[in-house]
Amino acid sequence: MDNGASSYRRFLNGDESAFHEIMEALFRGLVFFINGYVHDMHAAEDLAMDAFSDLIVHPHRYNFKVSLKTYVYMLGRSRALDYLRHRKVLQFVDLSDADRLADEKELSEFVLADARKRTLSAAIGQLPEDMRVVIHLIYFEEMTYDEAARVMKKSRKQIDNLLYRGKKELRAILGKDGEQLL
């Protein structure tokens, strides 16, 4: 599977429906991923849309050397970090908390389709950011270590270490029942 690269190629050749396929495959996962950084569903949606619009505005920046998913997640991460930097300066007006929580629940139900993932996700929330993101990319988005390293702009060794430490902490959080989930 090329994670959307062929669809993107079709889109570049003029097939707009191919872009819809890419959105179907990657959008919700990206929103969930960005939400892990910004902890704000609406902002995460916004940032994910901006990341996808980068694919249209700058079509030649993607070189097809990594999977499209990796590339889009890289864009998403960079947008999320930019947002966090700017948020320190700007004050955002929060939309209704109820709306946001409902959206968040709906999204997590979609992304964390099975019970195993849901249990893991709850535990992951207690981990430091880097560990949380690495575990999310590897276990939830099923990326390879190299792809996760690219998204996080870290070396493969660093990813390896983060994952090792993350799993260790998760075991401590989940207890004996959690052993089989990892």
Partner: protein, 197 residues
């Protein structure tokens, strides 16, 4: 959460907006840069050479432009030897006690100029050069009794190089350089300038 189609539509709308904005920015930059670039091109191609041409004669001797400066020293004098027959001058005015004459024939002007230049840069056979020659070799009239000639070379642009010849002393009044000529040099110069000895 909205439907994926809605998100897709929103992504396309945002992209169009961004592309439009980018084009507007490019247009604005182009509008600013184009006149500046045009001005620069016009300045370098039209105005600058004219300006250089105007400035050149006032900063340097006309001869220096074509490389046969009168009274120059050192290696530039060697270069001059090869190209004495051509000059920028179009007219010579010679003032003598007998009267003044103006020569405008290019070939004659060039010949006269070449004679003057060779007299100033060719060392006399005695080896005295610009120094005062000794004894018999010096032409008569050094004691202030000799007639004085003023030779003025004029370029097309009106720039002048003036020489005075008094006895055996040839002086370029622009630079103030003085050359003492030997008898034979003086004779050759007088012949070239069509002056009676």
């Amino acid at each position: 959460m909205r439907l994926i189609q809605e998100y897709t539509a929103e992504v396309f709308r945002r992209s169009e907006e961004r592309i439009k904005k980018r084009k507007q920015t490019q247009k604005r930059i182009l509008l600013c840069v184009t006149p500046v670039a045009l001005c620069a091109i016009l300045f370098t191609t039209g105005f600058l050479p004219e300006l250089q041409q105007k400035n050149a004669p006032s900063n340097a001797q006309p001869e220096a432009i074509i490389g046969n400066s009168d009274g120059v020293t050192g290696d530039s004098a060697d270069k001059n030897n090869g190209d004495l027959s051509r000059s920028l001058y179009v007219q010579v005015q010679i003032q003598s006690p007998a009267g003044s004459k103006t020569i405008t024939e290019k070939q004659t002007v060039d010949t006269m100029h070449a004679a003057i230049v060779s007299a100033t840069i060719t060392p006399p056979e005695s080896g005295a050069g610009n120094s005062v020659p000794s004894g018999d070799d010096v032409a008569p009239g050094d004691m202030g009794t000799a007639p004085q000639y003023t030779i003025t070379f004029i370029t097309k642009l009106g720039d002048q190089t003036v020489y005075t010849l008094s006895g055996s002393t040839l002086t370029q009044t622009n630079s103030g350089e003085t050359t003492t000529l030997t008898d034979s040099q003086r004779k050759d110069l007088m012949d070239a300038l069509q002056l009676p000895d």
